[in-house]
């Protein structure tokens, strides 16, 4: 379906924004603080409604529409915007997320109709309170701008002044030169938004040129960062503030770009970056060919020197290029950390504890793929911390602790890996209980305890004795961490808390692979090199002096035996009718006999760090999640050159 990917991505972003705004709404104390949140929410729902309409997801359109209606009433004060309303809308947002992701399957959700009824039957609006009318006489806003302000704008300005805020007026004049440098009205608005709330933006058209006036409310009377084409005026004078140093050079555009939170970003699918990375890989191979051709050409040392120098330079540049592409895949961890406040809020409610969430290092850049895979294990650990680690407020007070527990999520970069910590100040692990539930010895330390917690099925035993300790599905967490090429660890201090940590590589290369078994060992083979998988019967094979041929679609394919190529002969005998992979490179095809094709899965490629172990036909190694390793075979190398050890 066209646009499906764009739709899910934008919808996810909108929903995440909706969730954040809803949380902000429940925390906003004053009506003036709530207004911008309402606007942002209404806009997000509206955009989502439009998109859902284009994709013909009618239930989502309905939910958005009715949520908008409620929010509009709440914005006008006709409806209480309390925690209950926020909860209702959060529930709707969860349903919307499911609808968005179920799109390819078009799942019918019965909950949707229940939710729609709740949205519709929500408290009837109370009569509209009289809106304070205002001439705005105390404000020195020019008539040219002022006549475009609505009564609600005047209302917000007055309220802001009562709250001790400053009214500011800024003008921005766009020009083609500035536009070419990326300085446009959006940037001007972002710069201004960093200093306060935007009440209204008014375009002033003069002949064929245009100027924008921004009416602002500032918390502090400091002017915004300077930007070419932007003038700033303060309207309601506050007590004197230190004058700006007139000698100071206005910040250049380049400086501004460095210090400003806005970035000129382009969205790129990870798949496209993978394509670029593959091309870089091809270039590396081409460079080696060049090097080899040079060695074999018989050119003498002196004549060959400039070519050799160029080849060396290309090698360095290729390495830089590869690093640059790797960096392009990096996104801030906040993409996954940002989802935690909502999860914690829900979990705290259901597990009867109070918790303060502290997050550190969410700006750390990690691979996009890692961020996606990190969400589930992280949620698991957070859930465990709230379900098993943190005590109820009463229990905490009896233990002499603050009633509100503390949950800390931290990301600490360590060289080319990152350590992600989930720490609570709860009761810590009960080693005895863990030993008892496992029906064995009491673990000597946290490391041994983790071993027990990560045994498959351990959680089910714990369900019976819910307060015995941690361990809901820890085996799943450890498996996910291992599959990312990482390591899971644990520290615990009885009565003081518990810390789970995951050490993960910063970058990941992921390849869709066939897992095969061969003489009792498992190997992985990149899927895109394989065009077909088949079972080979003995009577399909013809023996020739030059080798073996396989009957295949009326023709014959050269047949190679992987056991022979790799020189392995393990304890397991080759099955009577083994599997074969058809490998194609250009017009050239061969059938490779393996014992069994076990399955298809994505594997994380770990480069072979030890030069003694690396071979041209080894593409790396991967961890299979059960603790065992599999070598990744480069079929192209194997077929072309055989095994040179």
């Amino acid at each position: 379906m066209e646009f499906l990917e764009d739709f899910t991505e934008e919808a996810d972003e909108l929903l995440q924004n909706i969730n954040q705004q809803l949380l902000g709404l429940s925390e906003a104390a004053t009506s003036s603080a709530r207004q911008p949140i309402f606007q942002e929410l209404l806009r997000a729902y509206h955009t989502l409604k439009g998109l859902a309409g284009m994709m013909a997801v009618e239930p989502a359109v309905e939910i958005c529409h009715r949520s908008e209606t409620l929010l509009n009433a709440a914005r006008k004060g006709q409806l209480e915007s309390d925690g209950r309303l926020v909860d209702l809308l959060l529930e709707g947002s969860r349903l919307l997320a499911r609808l968005v992701h179920a799109l390819p399957e078009r799942t019918a959700l019965t909950e949707v109709s229940t939710h729609l009824k709740r949205l519709q039957g929500w408290t009837q609006p109370t009569p509209e309170p009289p809106v304070a009318t205002s001439g705005g006489s105390l404000l020195e806003i020019p008539e040219l701008v002022g006549r475009h302000l609505q009564s609600e704008d005047w209302h917000r300005l007055e309220q802001g002044i009562r709250d001790g805020m400053t009214v500011g007026l800024a003008y921005f004049s766009p020009s083609p030169e500035q536009a070419a440098q990326g300085v446009n009205v959006n940037l001007a608005r972002e710069v201004l938004l960093a200093t306060g709330d935007l009440i209204r933006a008014v375009p002033l058209i003069e002949g064929s040129s245009v100027r924008f006036a921004f009416v602002m409310l500032h918390k502090t009377p400091d002017p915004p960062e300077s930007l070419a084409g932007l003038e700033w005026l303060r309207l309601n004078e506050q007590p004197a503030t230190p004058a700006q140093d007139p000698g100071e050079e206005p910040e250049s555009w380049a400086d501004h770009q460095r210090s400003s939170p806005i970035s000129n970003t382009v969205r790129v699918e990870v798949g496209r970056l993978d394509d670029i990375m593959r091309l870089v890989g091809d270039l590396v191979v081409s460079r080696w060919r060049l090097q080899n051709a040079l060695e074999e050409s018989g050119v003498n040392e002196r004549q060959g020197a400039p070519i050799r120098d160029s080849a060396m330079r290309i090698e360095r540049q290729l390495r830089d290029l590869r690093q640059a592409v790797t960096r392009a895949r990096m996104v801030p961890l906040s993409e996954v950390f940002g989802r935690m406040p909502l999860a914690v809020r829900d979990l705290a409610r259901s597990s009867n504890c109070q918790v303060r969430l502290v997050m550190e290092g969410e700006d750390t850049q990690v691979d996009k793929v890692l961020v996606e895979r990190l969400l589930d294990p992280l949620l698991h650990l957070v859930r465990n911390a709230l379900a098993h680690g943190l005590e109820s407020p009463q229990e905490r007070e009896q233990a002499g602790k603050e009633p509100v527990g503390r949950l800390r999520l931290a990301a600490v970069p360590q060289g080319d890996s990152i350590r992600i910590e989930v720490e609570d100040d709860g009761r810590g692990l009960d080693l005895e209980a863990i030993g008892r539930s496992a029906g064995g010895r009491v673990p000597a330390d946290a490391e041994q305890a983790l071993e027990i917690l990560c045994r498959p099925g351990f959680s089910t035993r714990l369900q019976a004795a819910k307060d015995a300790g941690r361990g809901v599905g820890m085996d799943v967490v450890r498996k996910a961490v291992a599959e990312m090429g990482g390591h899971l660890g644990l520290e615990s201090h009885p009565g003081q808390g518990c810390k789970f940590w995951m050490r993960l590589p910063l970058t990941l290369t992921i390849v869709d692979s066939f897992l095969i078994s061969l003489a009792g060992e498992r190997y992985a083979v990149a899927r895109d090199a394989v065009t077909e998988v088949m079972e080979v019967l003995a009577d399909q094979i013809h023996h020739h002096p030059g080798g073996e041929l396989l009957n295949w679609r009326g023709g014959a394919l050269p047949l190679l035996r992987l056991r022979k190529l790799l020189g392995t002969s393990g304890p397991v005998a080759e099955p009577a009718s083994p599997h074969a992979l058809v490998y194609a490179s250009g017009e050239h095809r061969v059938a490779l006999v393996v014992d069994r094709v076990v399955g298809l899965r994505e594997v994380v490629v770990r480069p072979m760090a030890d030069p003694l172990l690396s071979r041209p036909w080894l593409g790396g190694a991967t961890e299979l999640g059960d603790g065992s390793m599999a070598l990744i075979l480069d079929l192209g190398q194997l077929v072309r050159h055989g095994v040179k050890t």
């Binding site: 066209e2 646009f3 309409g53 009205v185 935007l198």
Partner: protein
């Protein structure tokens, strides 16, 4: 070559509109809000504006009012493209000076036909 300005706060929606109008072989400009739209109009010549209504900071209706209030943009054809729930605003929008009113979800052919008419191309 004609130039078309697509104004919508959703990047996906802008992409959908551009895809629907691709047979026009126009140059496409984009704006994510009303302010940016007016800036674009001041910086570059456009033959047609496809305009969403509900956008941050400046409503599409205001964009129409502004463009119609000034000589330089009075003749610019405006096609308003908005969600069904705003059907009741059709009259307001047309009275303010929009040339056409289409609703989301739109059919590519329908949008293309409307755009062709506004650009003065005979409908195919």
């Amino acid at each position: 070559m004609t130039a078309v300005l697509v104004v919508d706060d959703s990047p996906t929606m802008r992409k959908m509109v551009k895809a629907a109008l691709s047979p026009l072989q126009s140059h496409f400009g984009e704006a994510a809000n009303g302010l940016e739209a007016i800036e674009q109009l001041a910086l570059q010549h456009y033959d047609l504006m496809i305009l969403d209504l509900n956008m941050p900071d400046m409503h599409g209706l205001e964009v129409i009012q502004y463009t119609r209030a000034y000589d330089s943009y009075r003749e610019l054809p405006i096609l308003v493209l908005t969600t069904r729930s705003e059907e009741d605003t059709r009259r307001t929008v047309l009275e303010a000076g929009a040339n056409r009113y289409c609703t989301k979800p739109f059919q590519a052919q329908e949008l293309l036909g409307a755009a062709r008419e506004l650009l003065g191309h005979p409908p195919v």
